[in-house]
Symmetry: C2
Subunit: 157 residues, 2 copies
DNA sequence: CCCTCAATGCAATGATATTGCGCCACTGGT
DNA sequence: ACCAGTGGCGCAATATCATTGCATTGAGGG
């Protein structure tokens, strides 16, 4: 029947993903040239990848400092319990803060790793204060980034 | 003379950044419509933002699992010393690993926070083992992500 | 009040995206 | 071995978009 699953990716698909991950605004004509296809089938492949959810979207990478966000930091947050409703409530709370850019639940439960941005140290302090004083929060360890040697959004292809 | 710095962003620029951060493949015509400009000045603003380094690039967001990377995890790595050459060497080392997607130096020195992707738990174990046995590495704490409630690449605008 | 400069909009031109269609290769069944 | 059926490709045509040149407009300075 089918030698591979219907959503399997061949080498050309991987090349397309690699190119679009590296430059999301490349023209379809140029993309087709790089993966050695003509434009129409190349575009059809891109559409298929988008519709399959393999490409979730395209984003401009904006320098945070240009918008006044000089500080990026992480916060390791421990909650008092591991009860699901408590975890859910904490997630819902911080997800509403625009300064929280990522919220990952880690390990067995009760712990979260957040990535946040702040305009300055006062803003940062305010954010950590808000975290510390939030309901059910037991401890907050902030990890201030001194410098970032690598920051690639995607995955290796 | 100048009411604001030459690289200052007005409200239209911020709108452009917000739109391109949300959808990096939007056409210039559509972008111009949303920020209430005609196409040429809109494109000129985008080019200016790109050349000023405010827009660093555009990237497709690819689902890691589609490429076989089922696991994302973080690693807190402590080195034995804070000597600059040791820090630099560690950074150079892990930056060469494709599975390391982010490498942030944190706090006073000697500590790094890494974000990594792995195909499976065996791959993850191999990576943490490589970290643990790397030269000058004192300790490695892995933070396995159970679930991710929020993962926004950019900054609030 | 005039001048200057920066930014805009319009119009024209060259590229690109998108669709329809025919062709070829491969697969499975006869 | 032959014959559909299927999927993917390239070509060609058309709609849309990107990009450039140029005239106009409005705000601030002289």
């Amino acid at each position: 029947m089918r030698p591979e699953s219907p959503d399997a990716l061949d080498e050309t698909d991987r090349q397309i993903l690699a190119e679009l991950q590296a430059d999301g605004r490349i023209t379809n004509v140029e993309l087709a040239r790089r993966v050695d296809l003509s434009a129409p089938p190349c575009l059809r492949r891109v559409r298929r990848l988008e519709e399959a959810g393999i490409i979730r979207g395209y984003h401009a990478e904006v320098t945070p400092a240009a918008l006044g966000f000089e500080i990026t930091f992480f916060a390791l947050v421990g909650l008092e319990t591991q009860k699901q409703t408590v975890l859910d409530r904490f997630e819902a709370l911080v997800c509403e803060w625009p300064e929280v850019r990522e919220c990952h639940m880690i390990r067995g439960g009760g712990d979260f790793l957040l990535r946040l941005v702040a305009r300055d140290t006062a803003h940062e302090n305010e954010l950590t204060g808000r975290l510390t004083s939030a309901d059910t929060v037991q401890r907050v360890q902030t990890l201030q980034t001194i410098r970032t040697a690598k920051d690639e959004a995607g995955v290796p292809i």
